[in-house]
């Protein structure tokens, strides 16, 4: 398959067999269903969805760690199921919260070790390690034992591990998971620069942080319950909601049933709720401005007092709500 695709999936599916411990019988759970994606070489592509949506399953298939149960997947032009040995030298992966490597080795030693598994000579490996450690601000920790690193610094080391092999296609699975704001920003800046340096480099990022995807990706696919619901550039996805009116409200805690009442009002397209620090955060997608009055009236009737009200531009989170019918947090709760 010689074309301009870095990643291509055709009707890709994956079903897990899970044994029910109580009934001692096998059950099936569909993790991916009929996924068709095409990612061009040089593209920074985002896969957005809540936990359990199928993002990691898709990545595992693409990096040859998991076999699909139906369909085909191609990476760098090769079938991942039939030619994994050809695909592997061309790819790498970084996962959020991973604790790979050995705690007794230093940062430099761990990175050298992983470089060797890709056949890099020592001179090239150490040169790349030094360069990349400097870029992510970890150079002064090069000789620190990995077990002595904080979570954020360890994740920066993992990011470097993924990039020292200079892969054609890199998979980042929630790379900023659990990182503080500063470390997350450093990682985001690094990956953005890395892709922009060489036109052949392709990156697939999975995240459930919508802002991260919006900021970094050329295109994103929104995935939920194993299905791709939409795939376009962040700007085009948000254009879908441009005729809608979106309000963000902070209120006193909502009573049970209040949100359902608001959702059922004429002109209210979506309403989501998130309880934060003793208050309720509500996002409303409305057909027009004048629907707001009835929504506020309903909330007030149910004892919620508005603390803050803000009209805002659509975000990818709103696109997700529009497509799935609930916020990403609610979707995660729903899937358990």
């Amino acid at each position: 398959m010689m074309d301009n695709s870095a990643i291509k999936t055709e009707s890709l599916g994956r079903i897990y067999k899970i044994r029910d411990a109580k009934k001692n019988e096998a059950k099936e759970r569909t993790a991916l269903h009929d996924v068709n994606l095409e990612i061009k070489r040089g593209e920074f592509f985002g896969l957005l969805g809540p936990n359990g949506a199928g993002k990691t399953t898709l990545i595992k298939i693409l990096v040859t760690l998991l076999a699909p149960t139906s369909g085909h997947a191609f990476v760098a032009g090769y079938d991942v199921a039939k030619e994994p040995q050809t695909v592997r030298p061309k790819i790498n992966m970084v996962s959020g919260g991973e604790s790979s490597g050995y705690g007794l080795l230093t940062v430099r030693e761990n990175l050298w070790m992983f470089g060797q598994f890709y056949g890099l000579d020592n001179k090239t490996t150490f040169k790349r390690i030094d360069t990349l450690l400097e870029v992510v601000g970890l150079k002064d920790r090069a000789h620190t034992k990995t077990s002595d690193l904080s979570t954020g610094l360890r994740q920066k080391m993992n990011v470097v591990r993924g990039f020292i092999t200079d892969p054609e296609v890199i998979f980042l699975d929630e790379p900023t998971l659990g990182l503080d704001v500063s470390a997350s920003r450093d990682v985001r800046n690094f990956v953005r620069d890395w892709v922009s340096e060489q036109p052949h480099r392709t990156m697939l990022l999975t995240t459930h942080y919508m802002v991260e995807a919006d900021e970094l990706c050329d295109r994103v696919a929104i995935i939920n319950a194993g299905k791709v619901l939409a795939c376009d550039s962040p700007a085009n996805l948000k254009k879908r909601l441009q005729r809608d009116v979106i309000f963000h409200l902070d209120t006193t805690p909502l009573r049970y049933g209040a949100l359902s009442m608001v959702k059922n009002l004429p002109g209210v397209r979506q309403a989501t709720h998130n309880a934060v620090d003793g208050k309720s955060e509500i996002d409303l997608i409305l057909d027009a401005d004048d629907v707001l009055g009835s929504a506020l009236g309903t909330l007030t009737t149910h004892g919620a007092h508005v603390i803050n009200l803000q009209k805002r531009e659509p975000t990818l989170e709103d696109v997700f709500v529009e497509l799935v019918g609930m916020s990403i947090t609610e979707a995660e709760k729903a899937t358990g």
Partner: protein
């Protein structure tokens, strides 16, 4: 920022992987001084216990030497079980296993690197046990052939770590159960391989069955070659034991390679390679 580099493939990649995977064991483990102490001290304590039992029984003095050799070899068996067989469980837990498999290196090279690294680190501990035990209990060695002794040791290690590689590949399928299986094997192997007594005491049939463990043949041959009364207490001749060890080495390494391929494929199909719940 990054320059395009040529990467090794084939046997060069295989060798690089062995060296890289052996490195954490050869260099890294030496940084944890408490491990060195416990991995040397604990087997030595058990060895001392048997020495005192034999002394109390007025057993032939060469038995003390047998026990010291057994004590040193215990370190290798513990290394094979805990740092080879059960290692895959840890590699899976900390995410290394997924990285090993998705890298272009052959998994056999990873296992070989683990084996060579473990062998090197454990040899240092075994030497300490031998030297300390010999000095403390005045053991008299009567080496019949240094060449044969070296050959037996190398073959025993090859077969033993081949068995470890076989277990490691089989344990890819196990989750936490790997721990129970390792525990299950530990004491019966101490007993059957004759760590602290000549395996000839079992009688021919049982000793022959126990010879499926490389340590049984290896220790018996080493004792025959190292002590004056060794040949009279030996199970079968050293030459036959050498041939037996060669056969075991080939079988275990070939089986390890075969099972590694089969189990890796099965694990990729079932999704058990990276799922920590399974």
């Amino acid at each position: 920022m990054i320059t395009i580099a040529k990467t090794d493939k084939g046997w060069r990649l295989f060798l690089r992987t062995i060296v890289a995977r052996a490195y954490p064991r050869i260099i890294g483990q030496q940084r944890e001084k408490s491990w060195i102490f416990f991995e040397t001290f604990l087997p030595f304590i058990a060895t001392c216990g048997y020495v005192f039992v034999y002394r109390a029984m007025n057993a032939p003095e060469d038995y003390i030497g047998f026990v010291i050799v057994g004590g040193a070899m215990t370190a290798f068996w513990m290394n094979v079980m805990w740092s080879m067989s059960a290692q895959m469980y840890w590699e899976k837990e900390n995410g290394n296993l997924a990285l090993y498999i998705m890298a272009p290196n052959p998994m056999m090279a990873i296992l070989l690197g683990m084996a060579i690294g473990g062998m090197f680190a454990t040899t240092l501990r075994a030497i300490v046990i031998i030297v300390l035990g010999t000095w403390l209990f005045q053991v008299n060695f009567a080496i019949a052939s240094f060449v044969q002794l070296f050959a037996v040791f190398v073959l025993t290690m090859t077969a033993l770590y081949g068995l470890g590689m076989l277990f490691a590949s089989l344990f890819l399928l196990f989750g936490r159960a790997a721990w129970q299986v390792v525990n299950l094997f530990q004491e019966p192997v101490y007993f059957l391989s004759g760590f602290y007594f000549p395996v000839k005491s079992f009688g021919f049939a049982v000793a022959l069955i126990a010879s499926v463990l490389p340590l049984t043949l290896g220790m018996d041959a080493m004792r025959q070659l190292s002590f004056a009364s060794g040949p009279t207490l030996g199970f079968i001749s050293v030459e036959i034991e050498i041939v037996g060890l060669m056969i075991l080495s080939i079988i275990f390494i070939a089986l390890a390679k075969y099972w590694l391929g089969v189990i890796e494929k099965k694990a990729i199909e079932e999704g058990t390679l990276t799922d920590r719940r399974r």
